[in-house]
Symmetry: C2
Subunit: 145 residues, 2 copies
């Protein structure tokens, strides 16, 4: 989670909503790391989770990431949760809960749906305060600007 | 839908699950077209819808596709429905319903969720029989192989 938080901090400095994500393998080795890049590419699907998962899959050259853990500072949205299911990610660890757009513990609760054919192990709220504080400070600064 | 069906047929010939997608603008001009490419790239997120939307967004150079229509031969999954919401696609037209993995009229019914902040106009079942027949024939052929 430290690496994900660091990536989120770098995102904030670049004017991006501070969300960072890391993919590690079963041995804990980092396969990929990414920050939110929505503004940089003017691409609303360039979420940290999706970028990190895509890079990890490419690095592996394999179809699935079943033995991998995705660690991300914010509860994933439906798009990213869908990617987690499609790529059969073994474990999801996230920081802050996201009642507005989250799709794991909120809204569609995607991994509770019978139509979601892969459900990762999920651990939410890891370093929740730090993850949430980053987002809060980012939006406060923007409101003041 | 004819172009989407043609793309789906080409996908089947290439050994891919036959799903095709087209993005058109408000004037009906084709911005992008794609077929499912999961096997080609060994990438379970290379769905026709996501590929077509990504290409259309890139072609446009804009963040959103609010005036665009995504036409796809199969009801989108959660990942693709999440991308549709993120990219604020104006209208979704799909062919076959997908009770197994669909996320629009089945499972999470993503566009009915309060946490989904953009909901496109949705028209399902357009040339449903042809779209479904393509998929059925593809899986029958593979079972027999």
């Amino acid at each position: 989670m430290q690496l994900a938080l660091d990536a989120a901090r770098r995102a904030a400095l670049a004017g991006e909503v501070p969300v960072g994500a890391v993919v590690t393998d079963a041995a804990g080795a980092v396969l990929a790391m990414a920050a939110n890049q929505v503004e940089a590419g003017q691409n609303p699907t360039s979420h940290a989770e999706f970028l990190a998962l895509s890079a990890a899959r490419a690095a592996r050259g394999s179809k699935y990431l079943a033995d991998c853990t995705l660690t991300v500072t914010l509860e994933p949205c439906a798009f990213c949760a869908g990617a987690i299911a499609a790529l059969r990610v073994g474990k999801l660890v996230f920081g802050a809960y996201d009642p507005k757009t989250g799709a794991v513990e909120h809204g569609p609760r995607l991994f509770t749906q019978a139509t979601t054919h892969h459900k990762p192990e999920v651990i939410g709220g890891v370093r929740e305060q730090e993850s949430a504080a980053l987002l809060r400070e980012f939006f406060e600064t923007r409101r003041d600007a």
